[in-house]
């Protein structure tokens, strides 16, 4: 190795160090090369603290104050906002709506996603093409997806409405969007499921492809049927992938906002008002800043507790 290492270009080292020593960045170079991790990590941590931690502290401070529309000032109200939290029926409703939304979306997306992943893994021709087509819904901007489904679900000319009427699932009097809002929840779940079932397909398909084949072959030799093989061997081996996929979807589902904002605005009434939409309403529509901050803290704590319990129970590791 008399030539320069192609990876680091060492033969120029002496010259470069001389340049470093003269340049104003000399001190910076010393710090970076000192084997201490903090100079490498600090810039991004500062960014995360500024955008993540500052708002959290602000929310806590703000939770003890409230905007007074009469005076136009933010005034201290002590524990009033927190007391209000305990008696807020609308929050109770939003919590139940969120729970319904998250559970329905998770179950449907997981079951559908698993079924499609198994199908794509079972050896159809040109499976790469089908997989690529499946990925696309995931990267459509959620607001654009919601707008698309606003037309598709339109009571008068929506193609989806027409299709569901055709198979007799719903009728003109009780359309997906509008009417008494009986199907409003389904109406916001449809774009959600359309966009995020592919997420499960993608992860579970990658998992299926990486599974060792020996146990399956052994089971086949032992004469186990396809269902037995799937339940007793494939599914348990897929567990780590399933755990990660559900975790990521769960975390994102708690944040859901776009579909509801575009499709129903939480309505009719508060039928599709999930937690994050309710917090948005309090902060930005009815201008109850303090109470909006309280709701924000509640959502954050809920998300962190849920995710932590989940990570522990299912032993997800990074």
């Amino acid at each position: 190795m008399t030539n320069a290492d192609p990876m680091t270009g060492i033969e120029r080292r002496a010259g470069r160090e001389a340049v470093l020593r003269r340049s104003p960045f000399w001190a910076l170079g010393r710090v970076i090369n000192s084997e201490r991790p903090w100079p490498w990590i600090a810039p991004v941590v500062i960014l995360l603290l500024g955008i993540g931690l500052y708002p959290f502290i602000y929310n806590i401070r703000n939770s003890f104050r409230e905007f007074n529309p009469m005076t136009g000032n933010v005034e201290p109200v002590g524990l009033e906002n927190w007391r209000r939290l305990l008696q807020d029926d609308r929050l109770h409703g939003a919590f139940l709506t969120s729970a319904k939304y998250v559970l329905a979306a998770l179950v449907i997306e997981f079951v559908l996603g698993l079924a499609i992943a198994v199908l794509l893994n079972s050896g159809p021709a040109i499976s790469g093409l089908w997989q690529s087509l499946m990925i696309l819904p995931m990267v459509v901007p959620p607001t654009v997806a919601a707008v698309m489904f606003r037309v598709l679900e339109n009571p008068d000319y929506g193609a989806l409405q027409w299709l569901l009427e055709g198979v007799g699932l719903i009728d003109k009097q009780e359309p997906l969007l509008g009417g008494t809002g009986r199907y409003a929840m389904a109406a916001v779940l449809i774009p959600e499921i359309w966009q995020w079932t592919p997420f499960f397909v993608l992860i579970l398909l990658a998992g299926l492809k990486a599974l060792p084949q020996d146990p399956l072959e052994a089971a086949q030799v032992d004469g186990a049927g396809a269902w037995r093989q799937f339940w007793d061997i494939t599914l348990p081996m897929l567990r780590p992938m399933i755990a990660v996929a559900v975790l990521f979807r769960l975390v994102d589902l708690l944040k859901v906002f776009d579909y509801i904002f575009v499709l129903t605005s939480g309505g009719p009434g508060t039928r599709t008002e999930v937690l994050s939409f309710y917090a948005y309403q309090r902060s930005f529509v009815t201008i109850e800043w303090g109470y909006g901050s309280v709701l924000g803290i509640v959502i954050l704590v809920l998300a962190i507790v849920l995710a932590n319990v989940y990570v522990r129970v299912f032993k997800v590791a990074w």
Binding site: T8, N33, V139, V140, P142, T143, L202, I203, W318
Partner: protein, 303 residues
């Protein structure tokens, strides 16, 4: 794959059934996109036709002429809507400014996040850091932060610093949103490069920074590309914070498409044209990094 090289004649009957089923399922998922792209070249009566037609309509480029070419929408109203009425605030349909704003913010935040996250990912992968597990979990927990929680404080903070309706404000926010993704994903790529490579280079006299640069240039191109594409897409699609932190002087595509909905039904064509124009570049990007998609979407937890 061996399966794909079989000729059609050799295909088992079961394979044909599976292929048909796979085709039907994936086309169901693709159908709304296809329909929306078609709507962007259909005249209004055709968009509002139930059931929609795949073929046999007179295509029109008028929506794109307005949305991308700044043509006067009133000129086209008779052709496309069958009425002479003017849409609400015609000029707002011209979407090049929204696409430009989205592009500047997405590219800017992607560059910023790569600049800040790459060294951090390298440090997490290479240095022994006290409580590095806690640090990783803290970074991960930033990803769980619901935007609605930070929206209001950020709005107040931005107002105080004069960052409302600025590119630099939005770039900072989107970079922070994407930082956890970038750090954890890049760390998983760094972890795949043996530590011994750095150590050998440093024994040969390279500085730590030189070793970092070497690994980066020689082994991490694919990983950087995948991280960049995912950051770009998440920034491009982000809605709530863009809605709250801008008032219209700067306006991103997702915010613009949601404002189109509040007006009359005759504006679907403009929305379809904007939606199509904003989706196609993303599709091309994502198909290019398909290989790394699983790892990206799970922040490196699954490879």
């Amino acid at each position: 794959m061996a399966r794909q090289t079989k000729s059609w004649r050799q295909l088992h009957q079961g394979t044909i059934v599976k292929t048909l089923l796979a085709a039907v399922v994936s086309l169901i998922f693709f159908a709304p996109i296809l329909w929306w792209m078609l709507a962007s070249i259909k005249p209004t009566p055709e968009i509002l036709r139930s059931p929609p037609r795949l073929l046999g309509f007179d295509p029109t480029l008028n929506w794109f002429r307005v949305v991308l070419g700044n043509a006067d929408p009133t000129r086209f109203n008779i052709e496309t809507t069958g009425s002479v009425g003017r849409g609400s605030g015609g000029s707002t349909f011209y979407s090049i400014p929204y696409l430009r704003d989205s592009m500047i913010i997405a590219v800017g935040s992607t560059l910023l996040v790569l600049l800040l996250a790459t060294p951090a990912a390298y440090a997490l992968s290479r240095f022994t850091i006290r409580r590095s597990k806690d640090l990783t979990l803290w970074i991960l927990s930033q990803r769980m932060l619901p935007p609605v929680v930070v929206a209001f404080p950020l709005f107040m903070m931005f107002r105080d610093f004069g960052l409302i309706d600025t590119y630099r404000g939005m770039i900072l926010v989107h970079a922070a949103i994407n930082a956890p993704l970038a750090i954890l994903l890049l760390r998983s790529f760094f972890d795949e490069v043996p530590r011994e490579l750095d150590e050998a280079a440093m024994i040969d006299g390279a500085t730590r920074f030189g070793a970092f640069r070497g690994v980066l240039l020689h082994y991490l191109r694919g990983g950087l590309a995948a991280t960049a594409v995912l950051s770009f897409i998440f920034s491009w699609n982000e809605f709530l914070l863009s809605l709250v932190l801008t008032t219209g002087i700067v306006r991103t595509v997702p915010v613009a498409s949601s404002t189109f909905t509040t007006a009359f039904a005759t504006e679907w064509g403009y929305m379809a044209a904007l939606g199509t124009a904003s989706m196609i570049p993303i599709f091309i990007f994502i198909l290019l990094v398909q290989r790394h998609l699983v790892r990206g979407l799970t922040l490196g937890a699954l490879k």
